[in-house]
Symmetry: D2
Subunit: 355 residues, 4 copies
């Protein structure tokens, strides 16, 4: 089959690679109809993330994909050939202590290889979804049926970035009436903003440096601050009668923004970090965090927990994830998609690929 294949830093190629095959009784092979490039794929493209990556030359990348079941192992109970499905980007066995707690990303069975070995396209054991077909382990746990009335594009982002944005709002404990600051208006930041509103935020303040992206955020209902020109701290204090934001979500992946998040958050506030920092350590404003009684959460997404909540919202028209799509390319143009996305060309926001 054809796929986007890893050959090293900034060298991803569209080429033939081995067809996926059933390996375990609970595997399924999914024929891909839509896939997308994620910000974390860019970390791989840039050669970052160090030890967390266990992928080597010749393997397919990508972890956001949706398609049709082609073949199933004998232990698969809930799916059969022909079912339209999407896969969680993080794979869990469903039965270990970590999966039973809903922390599939820490699946004892799947993370034996270390690092992010249970995310598609980040490990040689789990080739990615920017491909014509993918093997999905423990498919009863990790596949989700796509309702007939939803288009591929409506459902595609449930695989990763819509749950990631939602998880940001959940980890930041966003509730009715809150003022929430979201750092970043990329795809994940946009979904974090939409999720904050969905959970009842009275006001979402979106922060970015890119006026185009800020304009998009305003169209979604956010207030915006261009931090290159405007004083975020003043704006937040003004909006909150001097108290600070109830919650902040970092959706960029920079340690200095975690510090900013702590600075603009009120006593007893919550900071969630869904941006992926590539440095192993981060220096935080501890004394401030202590004096303010802050809580700070971060982590890999577990879409399995969020899909059952988010799917009905898309079905009912309360969430439209397709608004973030800026580019639709054939899979064969994937390498160009990476180039466009990595260098912020053509007002790119999200690149969708079609095999």
């Amino acid at each position: 089959m054809n796929a986007i294949v890893y050959h090293g830093k900034e060298d991803f190629r569209f080429e033939r690679t081995a067809d996926p095959k059933l390996e375990g009784e609970c595997d399924a092979i999914v024929s891909v109809s839509r896939t997308a490039i994620c910000g974390s794929d860019l970390h791989l493209w840039h050669g970052g993330l160090g030890d967390a990556i266990a992928i080597s030359e010749g393997f397919a990348v990508g972890h956001e994909f949706l398609g049709v079941v082609q073949e199933t192992g004998r232990g698969v109970r809930g799916f059969k050939r022909g079912d339209r499905v999407l896969a969680s980007c993080t794979v869990g066995c469903g039965d270990c202590a970590s999966c039973r707690r809903g922390v599939y990303s820490g699946c004892v069975t799947m993370t034996k290889g270390g690092g992010a070995s249970n995310v598609f396209g980040f490990s040689t054991g789990l080739p990615g979804g920017q491909a014509e077909a993918v093997r999905v382990p423990f498919s009863d746990t990790n596949l989700f049926r796509v309702p007939e009335q939803l288009s591929d594009e409506q459902a595609l982002f449930l695989t990763d970035i819509l749950p990631t944005g939602y998880m940001g709002a959940e980890m930041a404990e966003v509730g009715p009436g809150d003022t929430v600051v979201v750092f970043g208006c990329g795809p994940v930041g946009m979904f974090a903003q939409m999720s904050a509103r969905l959970r009842g935020a009275a006001r979402v303040i979106a922060v970015d440096l890119d006026d185009e992206r800020l304009a998009r955020a305003r169209r979604l209902g956010s207030d915006t601050v261009n931090s290159a020109r405007e004083n975020l701290g003043e704006r937040v204090l003004e909006a909150t009668h001097g108290q600070g934001a109830d919650a902040a979500i970092e959706a960029v992946g920079r340690a200095d923004l975690i510090t900013q998040a702590a600075m603009i958050t009120r006593h007893g506030g919550r900071v969630a970090v869904i941006g992926v920092l590539t440095e192993p350590t981060a220096t935080l404003p501890w004394f401030l965090m202590f004096m303010k009684n802050l809580s700070l959460r971060t982590g890999l997404v577990n879409p399995q927990n969020h899909i059952p909540r988010l799917l009905p919202l898309i079905e009912q028209g309360r969430l439209d994830p397709t608004v973030i799509i800026s580019h639709r390319l054939p899979l064969s143009d994937g390498p160009r998609g990476y180039d466009v996305f990595a260098h912020h060309k053509e007002n790119v926001l999200k690149v969708v690929l079609q095999p």
Copy 2:
């Protein structure tokens, strides 16, 4: 001063009554600019609620009001003459064990008289707000400043029924993606529907017998079922792939609707009852509730907990409580307002009175 004064069953009169005076160091006298008739006032008007009522002839009724501080006791710290304020309908001292837990309705200090003695207009010790002026005890705890940019009508329902509707959604633990059934499209039911959506419900199904009210509910975004003509159970099963609603909110006050709520709710679902039943007991479908692992909650509202969350939503335009107002009358027409509201005349939904 003038007020709507209780003289017995279906006999409320607009007449002169004693001016309120400061009685405790923490009291404030509020000059009323807007007040409203609540469904629970109707229970009083119909002569119901039995022992819960400790009001006798000659006292002012009403517990939804907003106005301007006229005078304060020496122990009042946060308010002064001229402040525009609204009062929580339930009054707590703020310091007892119950108030510290946020259950102001069970305030040890204020409920010594038994029954609903800490709700304005339900006890001789706490004359009501359908009056030109009212005494508010423990005003630092029970008064809330009205932001300048809000009109009286935008803020008025924070005193009781907006928090009551919201409490219904909170007690029913409504969260993103839920399907929620709300029994009743009266003022409280409408606010429960708006609150369910605000907390992220994917679908709200409103139930009533009155097509006018159902049409209003549809305009707010609810699906509707006229239970006189349509089969609610079938509609809910159809909407939820046969599982039942995640949550149900009873906003009418009838025991048989609690049974219906239990019947249309899924395993592990939640039922909240914010309608006021006048009978002392209710017979519930226990075996069904047991087999379904249901949770059931009811109670008096404590607006003190909800106002800080709801106020910013009104300020930001995410909630418009004025949509329920159907009648605006001078306070002197209050008795006619009761008649209209009690007999569902003139497509009434909510009657606001102006002293």
Copy 3:
């Protein structure tokens, strides 16, 4: 094989019945080493529970059992012949919407037969565990490994009644410092008392009519009230400075005790009902519940959720479930065990059977 077999009201016999066989790919056959008689088995013995029961003559009863895996289907991943295991009394498929929420008792796959068809020994499709061997469906979800250092008797009650007692304390939201009233000092009531203390209750007040049982409760650290002779309400008010209990747990199964629970609970308190009422409806003191802002929860236990928390407590010696065992009989004496347990003979508390 031999088993305790249902022949109708008060007619359970020890006799030969069909050997269990693998039916699905995910089944396991467990050879039973210990089993016990549960209070809900008595409902069956007394002929109660009506439609909830779908068992017919000739089927094995019982749902508390522990043993050794004898055979597994090809889809079973986590267990193999020779593993020492216990089974959850309630069986879920692990993948349906209800199981994914942790409400295995409402498993869409397993409850197609209606009623309690997914509890062992209550349905012809799921023969019981008072037998030499049992078929366990979806065994990766419903079986749990027994640590080597635990005896059969230490682990046995994890199958049902220890999680049931714990669920009572959890549904009643028992937390540090609480005063908790537990109605009933039978096996489940005892575990509810132990669980309330485990969750940090400052004081547990156990209520029963049987002085022997009350003495046992005192040995576990509970205060006790014999409600035949003592005034429970006065005792609770005295213990709580006039406020009422923070939480109450009904572990008997009588509607009038739910009313008592509501009466002795404080404003904002929580009532959990884990006793099984055999009547389809219950009449509750609604106006009191409303004025007090009570929450009320009931339901079937889902041991799958609680075993991971309770097992380490037994391993570390913080919980000793064996204290409730009063009778140890061979399985062949099971019918006598039922007679003793049903008629409260011989100071019976809990009967354990050994095949």
Copy 4:
């Protein structure tokens, strides 16, 4: 009156200072009967905490004290001369947005001076409690009645360090069955260990370098690790079947221990930091925290929230806070008490002073 008075780094003197006087209507003057030296007083003694301190020469220090009400302002409702009381170390007004959320440490009214200006003895506006008498602002919010049957020593630590230790267990979301690692066996660490058990932890692993302190921890029921000699990571993995601890509590105040806490905690685990770091920033192992989906919380204690839960546990004998007392000195020997505590002399654990 006499007090321990600040004169600069390592220079605290027992000497005469100004008598406290009522300043606001809601103030009370408390005549002190017991007070104690806290680890955070040592930060002051060592000259640390920088800008957070707004105290100048001549003011009394100390924030843990208990005594008898001597005089009250006219706005005080709940207390009168002669009442035996303890004070929360953190003072809130009770009415501002932050206090209403339970974050008294961020009280808008009291923190206008910046830093820790609402902790007794850390600000010139709020002289401390290592004195014969203290002024307590907003006394209805910050004073708590001491039950007659409790000794001064049983109640004293409710002012700060018992709630601090408990808050550690709460912020780490310790629940039944958890394995919890507590870094530090000083007074706060000991209370964190006791609190973890109280919340149902199956196993508490206490870490310290001091064998005497570790022996005390074992007597309280903790497992112990001397991190100078033993490999904590191995011990934790062994105890948790390779998964890591459910929760970790840092009760020392060293950034490197936060890193250790993150390393020994499982996927989805929780880290709480109640030790006070004196450096303004801390470098954390971010990538590890991200891959493990950790939550991290820190903050000043708000005893107002915890006292109602902890007090009944002391009354019922489930918590004995006096076990940590190693030294009882007259207030006049306070300077020696500081010396002993600061230099770990005489197996000191906690120094109590009596005016």
